[in-house]
Symmetry: C2
Amino acid sequence: MGGEKDTLDLSDLNASLPAAAAALSAEDRAGLVNALKSLAGQHADVLETLSPNVRKRVEFLREIQGEHDEIEAKFFEERAALEAKYQKLYEPLYTKRYEIVNGVVEVDGISDEPTSENAAEGKESDAKGVPDFWLTAMKTNEVLSEEIQERDEPALKYLKDIKWSRIEDPKGFKLEFFFDTNPFFKNSILTKTYHMVDEDDPILEKAIGTEIEWHPGKNITQKVLKKKPKKGSKNAKPITKTEACESFFNFFNPPQVPDDEEDIDEETADELQSQMENDYDIGTTIRDKIIPHAVSWFTGEAVQADDFEDMGDDDEDDDEDDDDEDDEDEDEEEDEDDEEESKPARKSGSGRKQKVPQKVPQGNAEQPAECKQQ
Amino acid sequence: MGGEKDTLDLSDLNASLPAAAAALSAEDRAGLVNALKSLAGQHADVLETLSPNVRKRVEFLREIQGEHDEIEAKFFEERAALEAKYQKLYEPLYTKRYEIVNGVVEVDGISDEPTSENAAEGKESDAKGVPDFWLTAMKTNEVLSEEIQERDEPALKYLKDIKWSRIEDPKGFKLEFFFDTNPFFKNSILTKTYHMVDEDDPILEKAIGTEIEWHPGKNITQKVLKKKPKKGSKNAKPITKTEACESFFNFFNPPQVPDDEEDIDEETADELQSQMENDYDIGTTIRDKIIPHAVSWFTGEAVQADDFEDMGDDDEDDDEDDDDEDDEDEDEEEDEDDEEESKPARKSGSGRKQKVPQKVPQGNAEQPAECKQQ
């Protein structure tokens, strides 16, 4: 076994700074390098507390770690390429879906004549595409149905498509909501972007939403209160006051962390964390569930799949003591693992999920019981 | 564009039940089929509310969804194969790491003679391997350091290796902690298994831990209180009472959900959810961070990498208005997205992370301020 050293060379720090740092001014750059040197110094300290022999072993372990990290970088590359390859395969199917949902293309066998059934029920047979497709698909999902208020629905009927894409530098992903011309806001695309801290780690750095350009009096996320001025008051104009409303469209105005975190108390910080988790949960639900399986959510089949999975699990409990220990090459005594089971946390129809953060009220103020535009 | 129908054929339900259901008794099976039929009935209802033309379009959309889901199943397969391929590549490196850490194999250039430096500092140059390797690596991680109590450390010094593997049916993963013979418990392997609800969805079904066989009086997770009996009491023996202690080893006794969820009130349910999220967070931290990068956690380099990433992001803020909209083939008016930024939630050194559930007390009772074995 070789024993070459792979010590940390501080003189290389300038050369090995990531590309992002290259865009910085010389001054910022110098500051960054100094900060890194002091961090590297801490690392050197750890090694210096070790005896020379242990330190040699750790230096060797660092070489092994380096080999691992090179292989791992290739894994991340290959995985991203695999995902991109499949996104390309999905793309034409999503385009077809878009065209049918929005009546751009018609399927075979559609009759122009109103059928007797239609006439009897008073339905318009000439409705284009599939009305309320995205609204219905989203409302069928448990996480999203909590976010969509009754007053959001008239606006969400104009939703034509939802797409997502990965972003690089910073890492993360972007959701795009395509809207038809509508009486509520001017934007035809509303975007929500999530910046992540890490390559392989679901830690949210921040979330960014499109500012919605509401038409006058059409802001669903606000309630305007008009108070009559007091009698004899100098100003005869009514006093208007706006209050925040619960609305799906608050999704585009995500929770913000104050500049100085020290300014907020622990309770506020916890609530903020909870809100950000909820916001992230909504984003990943749209990305991972709604966009790939919108039709199954529209028909309700996606809900049934979830329920079925639970039913299956409940009935399989007796198989679960199967021991599938891996073979170990380390001469361990293989004590029998007496496993103590905790009960399933989620049951068919109970609606309680793990890893779904609790619902926290959105908006900046206490929610009024009813929140209509005035 | 074709218009063949792909209607849901209820008579096929029996034939298409997943393999898991095949293991059920005829009676259970019949019950399952009936339940499925009633669910499928709900689905049929949704389609029946649609006008005939819209229904035809939705049937066509269901065909497209079917094509998508076949492609997606191949994606999941390929991704699992890719991950397995890389796990195989990491394996020999993990074995080398194990051998050096535990002194099974020696690196070159290790001296048998105590150096003058060693003699002066009173260090033993004949320490085998890298003492406290896993304990130090875990304590360096923010999430795990909260779990590891001072009284856990003497036991965690005996930790020789941590491994993980995927499990199938039910889906999930397993962590294995390999311990040297130690004075605390008999088990040489402690296992923690997570069962997930979904293929591509981090929803925890349940967590299962090895029951630890503590040596008498060595249970770190319990405090034994001895009370002197009251004077004149019939029973002269001291009353012993055990209290739960905070301990990393509670990780192997994960939170349990009661059989009937209706029995617990909302506050208890929220606390339970929070505990399960924390438990899952610990498991994935060990799987995704500690096992692959144990050496970098031991030296502290892994922490610095996290910090550096944040520093970089802080300085890049001015680049973030870059518009990287995808090209759309749908003749959308591309309104400019005025994005409103929320501030970064996590800053260098602040230690506050998103997607890291709040710490909740573990164990079944109120935690005493100090919790020593008696």
